[in-house]
Protein backbone atom coordinates (compact mmCIF):
# COMPACT_ATOMS: atom_id res chain seq x y z
CA UNK A 1 0.00 0.00 0.00
CA UNK A 2 1.16 3.52 -0.70
CA UNK A 3 1.34 4.41 2.97
CA UNK A 4 3.85 1.73 3.83
CA UNK A 5 5.88 2.24 0.68
CA UNK A 6 6.79 5.83 1.34
CA UNK A 7 10.36 6.85 1.70
CA UNK A 8 11.53 10.15 3.03
CA UNK A 9 13.99 12.72 1.93
CA UNK A 10 15.27 15.71 3.82
CA UNK A 11 13.69 18.97 2.75
CA UNK A 12 17.12 20.49 2.27
CA UNK A 13 17.94 17.91 -0.42
CA UNK A 14 14.62 18.02 -2.16
CA UNK A 15 13.93 21.72 -2.31
CA UNK A 16 13.96 23.12 -5.78
CA UNK A 17 10.97 25.35 -5.58
CA UNK A 18 10.44 26.98 -2.26
CA UNK A 19 12.15 28.90 0.46
CA UNK A 20 14.75 27.14 2.54
CA UNK A 21 13.27 25.90 5.76
CA UNK A 22 14.95 25.72 9.12
CA UNK A 23 14.68 22.24 10.56
CA UNK A 24 11.61 21.87 12.76
CA UNK A 25 12.02 19.72 15.81
CA UNK A 26 9.56 17.02 14.97
CA UNK A 27 10.51 14.09 12.77
CA UNK A 28 7.41 12.78 11.05
CA UNK A 29 7.07 11.06 7.69
CA UNK A 30 3.29 11.08 7.85
CA UNK A 31 1.06 14.05 8.55
CA UNK A 32 -0.91 13.61 11.74
CA UNK A 33 -4.68 13.38 11.54
CA UNK A 34 -4.78 15.79 14.42
CA UNK A 35 -8.40 15.55 15.56
CA UNK A 36 -8.92 17.04 18.99
CA UNK A 37 -10.20 14.36 21.35
CA UNK A 38 -13.83 15.06 22.09
CA UNK A 39 -13.81 13.60 25.57
CA UNK A 40 -11.27 15.98 27.09
CA UNK A 41 -10.37 19.41 25.70
CA UNK A 42 -6.72 19.48 24.67
CA UNK A 43 -4.32 21.92 26.30
CA UNK A 44 -2.75 24.62 24.14
CA UNK A 45 0.54 22.71 24.14
CA UNK A 46 -1.22 19.54 23.01
CA UNK A 47 -3.01 21.44 20.27
CA UNK A 48 0.19 23.01 19.02
CA UNK A 49 1.85 19.58 18.90
CA UNK A 50 -0.75 18.43 16.37
CA UNK A 51 0.35 21.02 13.82
CA UNK A 52 4.13 20.71 13.75
CA UNK A 53 5.73 20.67 10.32
CA UNK A 54 7.20 17.37 9.18
CA UNK A 55 10.92 17.36 8.51
CA UNK A 56 10.79 15.24 5.40
CA UNK A 57 8.88 14.91 2.15
CA UNK A 58 7.40 11.48 1.51
CA UNK A 59 8.02 9.93 -1.90
CA UNK A 60 6.40 6.65 -2.98
CA UNK A 61 8.51 3.52 -3.22
CA UNK A 62 7.63 3.06 -6.88
CA UNK A 63 8.69 6.61 -7.77
CA UNK A 64 11.52 7.64 -5.42
CA UNK A 65 13.10 11.08 -5.59
CA UNK A 66 16.05 11.74 -7.89
CA UNK A 67 17.47 15.11 -8.91
CA UNK A 68 17.21 14.08 -12.56
CA UNK A 69 13.50 13.30 -12.29
CA UNK A 70 12.72 16.51 -10.42
CA UNK A 71 14.73 18.58 -12.93
CA UNK A 72 12.96 17.00 -15.90
CA UNK A 73 9.61 17.25 -14.10
CA UNK A 74 10.07 20.98 -13.54
CA UNK A 75 10.74 21.58 -17.23
CA UNK A 76 7.66 19.54 -18.20
CA UNK A 77 5.57 21.35 -15.56
CA UNK A 78 6.40 24.75 -17.04
CA UNK A 79 6.30 23.69 -20.71
CA UNK A 80 3.33 25.11 -22.64
CA UNK A 81 4.00 22.60 -25.43
CA UNK A 82 2.23 20.03 -23.25
CA UNK A 83 -1.01 21.58 -24.54
CA UNK A 84 -2.52 21.34 -28.03
CA UNK A 85 -2.44 25.12 -28.46
CA UNK A 86 1.09 25.49 -27.02
CA UNK A 87 -0.36 28.00 -24.58
CA UNK A 88 -1.12 26.09 -21.36
CA UNK A 89 1.38 24.43 -19.07
CA UNK A 90 0.64 22.82 -15.69
CA UNK A 91 1.85 26.14 -14.26
CA UNK A 92 -0.86 28.05 -16.11
CA UNK A 93 -3.43 26.84 -13.58
CA UNK A 94 -1.05 25.90 -10.74
CA UNK A 95 1.24 28.89 -10.72
CA UNK A 96 3.83 29.85 -8.10
CA UNK A 97 2.62 33.43 -8.60
CA UNK A 98 -0.72 32.54 -6.97
CA UNK A 99 0.25 30.08 -4.24
CA UNK A 100 0.41 27.36 -6.93
CA UNK A 101 -3.20 27.96 -8.00
CA UNK A 102 -4.37 30.50 -10.59
CA UNK A 103 -6.19 33.17 -8.60
CA UNK A 104 -9.36 32.57 -10.66
CA UNK A 105 -12.76 31.40 -9.39
CA UNK A 106 -12.55 28.49 -11.84
CA UNK A 107 -9.79 27.21 -14.06
CA UNK A 108 -9.46 28.35 -17.67
CA UNK A 109 -8.86 25.58 -20.20
CA UNK A 110 -8.53 25.08 -23.96
CA UNK A 111 -9.86 27.97 -26.05
CA UNK A 112 -10.14 30.10 -22.90
CA UNK A 113 -13.16 28.10 -21.78
CA UNK A 114 -13.98 28.28 -18.09
CA UNK A 115 -13.83 24.91 -16.30
CA UNK A 116 -16.24 23.61 -13.70
CA UNK A 117 -14.10 23.94 -10.58
CA UNK A 118 -11.37 26.09 -9.10
CA UNK A 119 -7.78 25.06 -9.83
CA UNK A 120 -6.50 23.50 -6.59
CA UNK A 121 -3.05 24.42 -5.31
CA UNK A 122 -0.27 21.84 -5.62
CA UNK A 123 1.40 23.09 -2.42
CA UNK A 124 2.09 20.10 -0.17
CA UNK A 125 0.67 17.65 -2.72
CA UNK A 126 3.41 15.25 -1.59
CA UNK A 127 1.46 14.80 1.62
CA UNK A 128 -1.90 14.22 -0.10
CA UNK A 129 -3.73 10.95 0.16
CA UNK A 130 -6.04 11.35 -2.83
CA UNK A 131 -6.25 13.97 -5.57
CA UNK A 132 -8.70 16.25 -7.38
CA UNK A 133 -11.66 17.90 -5.65
CA UNK A 134 -13.67 14.68 -6.08
CA UNK A 135 -10.81 12.27 -5.31
CA UNK A 136 -10.83 10.64 -8.72
CA UNK A 137 -7.02 10.23 -8.79
CA UNK A 138 -5.33 7.97 -6.28
CA UNK A 139 -1.83 9.37 -6.76
CA UNK A 140 -0.02 12.33 -8.31
CA UNK A 141 1.29 9.99 -11.00
CA UNK A 142 -2.29 9.01 -11.84
CA UNK A 143 -3.34 12.66 -11.87
CA UNK A 144 -0.50 14.17 -13.89
CA UNK A 145 -1.60 13.17 -17.41
CA UNK A 146 -5.32 13.83 -16.82
CA UNK A 147 -5.37 17.58 -17.55
CA UNK A 148 -2.99 17.16 -20.50
CA UNK A 149 -5.33 14.77 -22.30
CA UNK A 150 -8.63 16.35 -21.17
CA UNK A 151 -10.18 18.06 -24.20
CA UNK A 152 -11.45 20.97 -22.09
CA UNK A 153 -8.06 21.53 -20.49
CA UNK A 154 -4.78 21.08 -22.38
CA UNK A 155 -6.46 18.99 -25.09
CA UNK A 156 -3.43 16.94 -26.08
CA UNK A 157 -3.96 13.17 -26.56
CA UNK A 158 -1.07 11.24 -25.02
CA UNK A 159 0.17 9.79 -28.33
CA UNK A 160 0.42 13.33 -29.69
CA UNK A 161 2.15 14.46 -26.50
CA UNK A 162 4.78 11.76 -27.00
CA UNK A 163 5.26 12.70 -30.65
CA UNK A 164 5.67 16.37 -29.74
CA UNK A 165 8.20 15.71 -26.97
CA UNK A 166 10.15 13.25 -29.12
CA UNK A 167 10.56 15.97 -31.72
CA UNK A 168 12.29 18.22 -29.17
CA UNK A 169 15.92 16.99 -29.24
CA UNK A 170 16.98 18.44 -25.89
CA UNK A 171 14.33 16.43 -24.02
CA UNK A 172 15.92 13.10 -25.02
CA UNK A 173 19.02 13.26 -22.76
CA UNK A 174 16.92 14.55 -19.87
CA UNK A 175 14.59 11.54 -20.09
CA UNK A 176 17.56 9.22 -20.46
CA UNK A 177 19.18 10.64 -17.34
CA UNK A 178 15.97 10.45 -15.32
CA UNK A 179 14.82 7.06 -16.64
CA UNK A 180 17.86 5.15 -17.96
CA UNK A 181 15.84 1.98 -18.54
CA UNK A 182 12.97 3.11 -20.72
CA UNK A 183 13.39 6.85 -21.37
CA UNK A 184 10.39 8.78 -22.65
CA UNK A 185 7.12 7.01 -21.93
CA UNK A 186 3.74 8.31 -20.77
CA UNK A 187 4.32 6.75 -17.32
CA UNK A 188 7.70 8.43 -17.03
CA UNK A 189 6.29 11.82 -18.02
CA UNK A 190 3.81 11.40 -15.18
CA UNK A 191 6.49 10.23 -12.75
CA UNK A 192 8.75 13.19 -13.52
CA UNK A 193 5.95 15.75 -13.12
CA UNK A 194 4.79 14.09 -9.88
CA UNK A 195 8.35 14.12 -8.51
CA UNK A 196 8.71 17.82 -9.18
CA UNK A 197 5.29 18.56 -7.67
CA UNK A 198 6.28 16.77 -4.46
CA UNK A 199 9.13 19.23 -3.99
CA UNK A 200 6.65 22.12 -3.80
CA UNK A 201 6.21 22.43 -0.05
CA UNK A 202 4.91 25.43 1.86
CA UNK A 203 7.57 27.52 3.55
CA UNK A 204 7.90 28.17 7.26
CA UNK A 205 5.12 30.51 8.26
CA UNK A 206 4.77 32.73 11.36
CA UNK A 207 2.44 30.04 12.76
CA UNK A 208 5.29 27.50 12.68
CA UNK A 209 7.57 29.85 14.61
CA UNK A 210 4.83 30.37 17.20
CA UNK A 211 4.13 26.70 17.85
CA UNK A 212 7.86 26.17 18.21
CA UNK A 213 8.00 28.72 20.99
CA UNK A 214 8.35 32.23 19.56
CA UNK A 215 5.51 34.08 21.28
CA UNK A 216 6.14 37.24 19.24
CA UNK A 217 5.76 35.44 15.90
CA UNK A 218 2.01 36.01 15.61
CA UNK A 219 -0.42 38.60 17.05
CA UNK A 220 -2.62 37.90 20.09
CA UNK A 221 -5.79 37.84 18.00
CA UNK A 222 -4.29 35.04 15.85
CA UNK A 223 -3.50 33.04 19.00
CA UNK A 224 -7.13 33.40 20.08
CA UNK A 225 -8.13 32.45 16.55
CA UNK A 226 -6.10 29.23 16.79
CA UNK A 227 -7.99 28.22 19.93
CA UNK A 228 -11.32 29.06 18.29
CA UNK A 229 -10.26 27.07 15.22
CA UNK A 230 -9.83 24.02 17.42
CA UNK A 231 -12.79 24.48 19.75
CA UNK A 232 -15.86 26.62 19.10
CA UNK A 233 -15.23 26.83 15.36
CA UNK A 234 -14.73 23.06 14.99
CA UNK A 235 -12.58 23.84 11.93
CA UNK A 236 -10.03 21.19 12.94
CA UNK A 237 -12.65 18.45 12.49
CA UNK A 238 -11.67 18.62 8.81
CA UNK A 239 -8.72 21.03 8.55
CA UNK A 240 -6.51 18.86 10.74
CA UNK A 241 -2.78 18.30 11.04
CA UNK A 242 0.15 20.44 9.87
CA UNK A 243 -1.27 20.85 6.34
CA UNK A 244 -4.74 21.57 7.73
CA UNK A 245 -6.64 18.88 5.84
CA UNK A 246 -8.07 15.44 6.58
CA UNK A 247 -8.00 14.52 2.86
CA UNK A 248 -11.63 13.52 3.30
CA UNK A 249 -14.87 14.55 1.61
CA UNK A 250 -17.56 16.79 3.07
CA UNK A 251 -20.57 18.73 1.81
CA UNK A 252 -20.15 22.13 3.45
CA UNK A 253 -23.43 23.57 2.18
CA UNK A 254 -22.39 25.67 -0.81
CA UNK A 255 -25.21 26.47 -3.20
CA UNK A 256 -23.86 25.14 -6.51
CA UNK A 257 -25.25 21.89 -7.95
CA UNK A 258 -21.96 20.03 -8.55
CA UNK A 259 -22.26 16.52 -7.00
CA UNK A 260 -18.49 16.20 -6.43
CA UNK A 261 -17.52 12.91 -4.76
CA UNK A 262 -21.14 11.79 -5.21
CA UNK A 263 -20.39 10.95 -8.85
CA UNK A 264 -18.35 7.99 -7.63
CA UNK A 265 -20.46 7.14 -4.58
CA UNK A 266 -24.00 7.80 -5.83
CA UNK A 267 -25.66 5.77 -3.07
CA UNK A 268 -23.99 7.62 -0.20
CA UNK A 269 -26.13 10.59 0.80
CA UNK A 270 -23.31 12.38 2.62
CA UNK A 271 -21.05 12.22 -0.45
CA UNK A 272 -23.44 14.22 -2.63
CA UNK A 273 -21.97 17.70 -3.16
CA UNK A 274 -19.02 16.61 -1.05
CA UNK A 275 -15.51 17.79 -1.95
CA UNK A 276 -12.07 17.10 -0.56
CA UNK A 277 -10.98 19.33 2.29
CA UNK A 278 -8.29 21.68 0.96
CA UNK A 279 -5.24 22.40 3.08
CA UNK A 280 -4.82 25.93 4.42
CA UNK A 281 -1.09 26.56 3.99
CA UNK A 282 -0.28 29.72 1.94
CA UNK A 283 -3.99 30.46 2.16
CA UNK A 284 -3.87 34.24 1.69
CA UNK A 285 -2.27 33.74 -1.74
CA UNK A 286 -4.88 31.24 -2.86
CA UNK A 287 -8.21 33.05 -3.12
CA UNK A 288 -10.92 33.03 -4.23
CA UNK A 289 -11.96 30.07 -2.13
CA UNK A 290 -14.00 26.84 -2.18
CA UNK A 291 -14.19 24.24 -4.98
CA UNK A 292 -16.27 26.62 -7.09
CA UNK A 293 -14.34 29.79 -6.30
CA UNK A 294 -17.58 31.34 -5.08
CA UNK A 295 -16.19 32.94 -1.92
CA UNK A 296 -13.87 35.88 -2.50
CA UNK A 297 -12.24 36.54 0.86
CA UNK A 298 -11.25 34.77 4.07
CA UNK A 299 -13.76 36.96 5.92
CA UNK A 300 -16.51 35.62 3.65
CA UNK A 301 -15.27 32.06 4.21
CA UNK A 302 -15.73 32.47 7.95
CA UNK A 303 -19.16 33.99 7.37
CA UNK A 304 -20.13 30.94 5.32
CA UNK A 305 -19.19 28.58 8.13
CA UNK A 306 -20.82 30.85 10.68
CA UNK A 307 -24.19 30.48 8.94
CA UNK A 308 -23.51 26.85 7.82
CA UNK A 309 -24.75 27.40 4.27
CA UNK A 310 -27.56 25.37 2.70
CA UNK A 311 -29.22 22.84 4.98
CA UNK A 312 -29.79 19.53 3.13
CA UNK A 313 -29.44 15.79 3.80
CA UNK A 314 -25.96 15.61 2.31
CA UNK A 315 -24.54 18.47 4.37
CA UNK A 316 -21.96 17.20 6.84
CA UNK A 317 -23.15 16.89 10.40
CA UNK A 318 -20.01 18.82 11.30
CA UNK A 319 -21.36 21.94 9.56
CA UNK A 320 -23.73 23.86 11.82
CA UNK A 321 -24.32 27.52 12.72
CA UNK A 322 -21.52 28.75 14.98
CA UNK A 323 -22.86 32.04 16.40
CA UNK A 324 -19.44 33.67 16.22
CA UNK A 325 -19.06 37.26 17.46
CA UNK A 326 -17.45 39.89 15.22
CA UNK A 327 -14.28 39.63 17.32
CA UNK A 328 -14.20 35.83 16.99
CA UNK A 329 -14.55 36.06 13.22
CA UNK A 330 -11.70 38.56 13.07
CA UNK A 331 -9.58 36.30 15.30
CA UNK A 332 -10.11 33.31 13.01
CA UNK A 333 -9.10 35.32 9.95
CA UNK A 334 -6.04 36.65 11.79
CA UNK A 335 -5.07 33.07 12.62
CA UNK A 336 -5.41 31.88 9.01
CA UNK A 337 -3.19 34.73 7.84
CA UNK A 338 -0.34 33.32 9.94
CA UNK A 339 -0.28 30.19 7.73
CA UNK A 340 1.26 32.02 4.76
CA UNK A 341 5.05 32.01 4.44
CA UNK A 342 7.38 34.46 2.71
CA UNK A 343 7.96 32.38 -0.36
CA UNK A 344 11.01 33.06 -2.48
CA UNK A 345 10.32 33.56 -6.17
CA UNK A 346 10.35 30.35 -8.20
CA UNK A 347 12.80 30.27 -11.09
CA UNK A 348 11.15 29.50 -14.40
CA UNK A 349 13.26 26.84 -16.16
CA UNK A 350 14.87 27.28 -19.55
CA UNK A 351 13.01 24.80 -21.74
CA UNK A 352 14.49 22.22 -24.09
CA UNK A 353 14.41 23.07 -27.81
Amino acid sequence: MRCSSRIVLTLATAFTAMTAVAAPRLQAAEPTTGAVPRSAPASLAELKAQYRRPETIPFPKDNPYTVEKATLGKKLYFDTRLSAANLLSCAACHSPAYGWGDGQPRGIGHNMKQLGRRSPTIVNAAFGEIFMWDGRAGSLEEQALGPIRADVEMNLPIDQLLAKLKAIPEYQPLFKAAFPKDGMTPDNIAKAIATYERTVVSGRAPFDAWIEGDERAIPEEAKRGFVLFNNKGGCQNCHSGWNFTDDSFHDIGLSDADVGRGKFLPAIVKMQQAFKTPGLREITRRGPYMHDGSVATLEAVIEHYNTAGVERPSRSELIKPLALSAQEKADLVAFMKTLTSNMDPTTVPVLPR
Binding site: M1, R2, C3, S4, T33, A35, R38, E129, I130, G135, D246, D247, S248, F249, R261, F264, L265, A267, I268, V269, K270, M271, A274, E317
Partner: protein, 106 residues
Protein backbone atom coordinates in the same frame (compact mmCIF):
# COMPACT_ATOMS: atom_id res chain seq x y z
CA UNK B 1 -13.19 -47.59 -6.01
CA UNK B 2 -11.50 -44.70 -7.79
CA UNK B 3 -14.76 -42.81 -7.88
CA UNK B 4 -15.18 -43.28 -4.17
CA UNK B 5 -11.70 -41.86 -3.48
CA UNK B 6 -12.47 -38.77 -5.48
CA UNK B 7 -15.73 -38.35 -3.61
CA UNK B 8 -13.98 -38.72 -0.26
CA UNK B 9 -11.32 -36.18 -1.18
CA UNK B 10 -13.97 -33.74 -2.30
CA UNK B 11 -15.87 -34.22 0.93
CA UNK B 12 -12.72 -33.69 2.97
CA UNK B 13 -11.79 -30.51 1.15
CA UNK B 14 -15.20 -29.00 1.48
CA UNK B 15 -15.38 -30.16 5.10
CA UNK B 16 -12.03 -28.59 5.91
CA UNK B 17 -13.12 -25.24 4.51
CA UNK B 18 -16.12 -25.26 6.79
CA UNK B 19 -14.11 -26.49 9.74
CA UNK B 20 -11.32 -23.89 9.47
CA UNK B 21 -13.17 -20.82 8.19
CA UNK B 22 -12.34 -18.09 10.67
CA UNK B 23 -13.50 -14.62 11.55
CA UNK B 24 -11.48 -11.49 12.01
CA UNK B 25 -12.94 -8.25 13.30
CA UNK B 26 -11.67 -4.80 12.30
CA UNK B 27 -12.85 -1.70 14.14
CA UNK B 28 -12.77 1.89 12.90
CA UNK B 29 -12.60 4.13 15.95
CA UNK B 30 -11.12 7.62 15.45
CA UNK B 31 -11.13 7.31 11.64
CA UNK B 32 -8.58 4.49 11.72
CA UNK B 33 -8.68 0.75 11.10
CA UNK B 34 -7.68 -1.21 14.19
CA UNK B 35 -5.13 -3.12 12.09
CA UNK B 36 -3.05 -1.91 9.17
CA UNK B 37 -2.42 -5.38 7.72
CA UNK B 38 -4.08 -8.74 8.27
CA UNK B 39 -3.75 -12.16 6.67
CA UNK B 40 -6.79 -14.31 6.08
CA UNK B 41 -7.52 -17.51 4.21
CA UNK B 42 -9.89 -17.66 1.28
CA UNK B 43 -13.36 -18.08 2.71
CA UNK B 44 -12.59 -16.46 6.07
CA UNK B 45 -14.95 -13.74 7.17
CA UNK B 46 -13.71 -10.20 7.81
CA UNK B 47 -16.09 -8.23 10.00
CA UNK B 48 -15.89 -4.42 9.83
CA UNK B 49 -17.42 -2.87 12.93
CA UNK B 50 -18.11 0.86 12.89
CA UNK B 51 -17.36 1.82 16.49
CA UNK B 52 -16.60 5.39 15.36
CA UNK B 53 -18.99 8.33 15.73
CA UNK B 54 -19.32 9.02 11.99
CA UNK B 55 -20.33 6.96 8.94
CA UNK B 56 -17.68 5.18 6.89
CA UNK B 57 -17.65 3.54 3.46
CA UNK B 58 -15.28 0.57 3.36
CA UNK B 59 -14.36 -0.65 -0.09
CA UNK B 60 -11.71 -2.24 -2.26
CA UNK B 61 -11.11 -1.90 -5.96
CA UNK B 62 -8.36 -4.55 -6.06
CA UNK B 63 -9.09 -6.71 -9.12
CA UNK B 64 -10.70 -10.04 -8.21
CA UNK B 65 -11.64 -8.98 -4.69
CA UNK B 66 -13.69 -5.82 -5.28
CA UNK B 67 -16.29 -4.95 -2.68
CA UNK B 68 -18.10 -1.87 -1.44
CA UNK B 69 -19.94 -1.90 1.88
CA UNK B 70 -21.66 1.41 1.16
CA UNK B 71 -22.50 3.83 3.93
CA UNK B 72 -21.96 2.16 7.28
CA UNK B 73 -23.54 4.04 10.16
CA UNK B 74 -21.99 4.20 13.64
CA UNK B 75 -22.86 1.00 15.49
CA UNK B 76 -23.30 -1.09 12.34
CA UNK B 77 -21.16 -4.03 11.30
CA UNK B 78 -20.71 -5.80 7.95
CA UNK B 79 -19.06 -9.01 6.81
CA UNK B 80 -16.79 -9.50 3.83
CA UNK B 81 -15.48 -12.78 2.41
CA UNK B 82 -12.65 -12.47 -0.08
CA UNK B 83 -12.59 -15.13 -2.78
CA UNK B 84 -9.20 -14.74 -4.46
CA UNK B 85 -5.68 -15.08 -3.10
CA UNK B 86 -3.48 -11.98 -3.16
CA UNK B 87 -2.93 -8.54 -1.64
CA UNK B 88 -6.13 -6.54 -1.26
CA UNK B 89 -6.05 -2.77 -0.66
CA UNK B 90 -8.96 -1.69 1.55
CA UNK B 91 -9.91 1.91 2.25
CA UNK B 92 -12.71 4.21 3.33
CA UNK B 93 -13.99 6.12 0.31
CA UNK B 94 -15.05 9.02 2.53
CA UNK B 95 -11.86 9.17 4.64
CA UNK B 96 -9.14 7.80 2.34
CA UNK B 97 -6.42 7.98 4.99
CA UNK B 98 -8.19 4.99 6.52
CA UNK B 99 -6.53 2.16 4.71
CA UNK B 100 -5.30 -1.35 5.37
CA UNK B 101 -4.02 -4.29 3.45
CA UNK B 102 -5.50 -7.77 3.54
CA UNK B 103 -3.39 -10.70 2.40
CA UNK B 104 -5.63 -13.54 1.24
CA UNK B 105 -3.95 -16.96 1.17
CA UNK B 106 -5.14 -20.23 -0.41
Amino acid sequence: MKLMTVALVAAFVSGSVVAFAAEKTISQKGRAFSESAVTVKKGDTLTFVNDDNIAHNIMSSTAGNEFNLGSQAPGASSNVTLGNAGEVAVLCAIHPRMKMSVTVTD
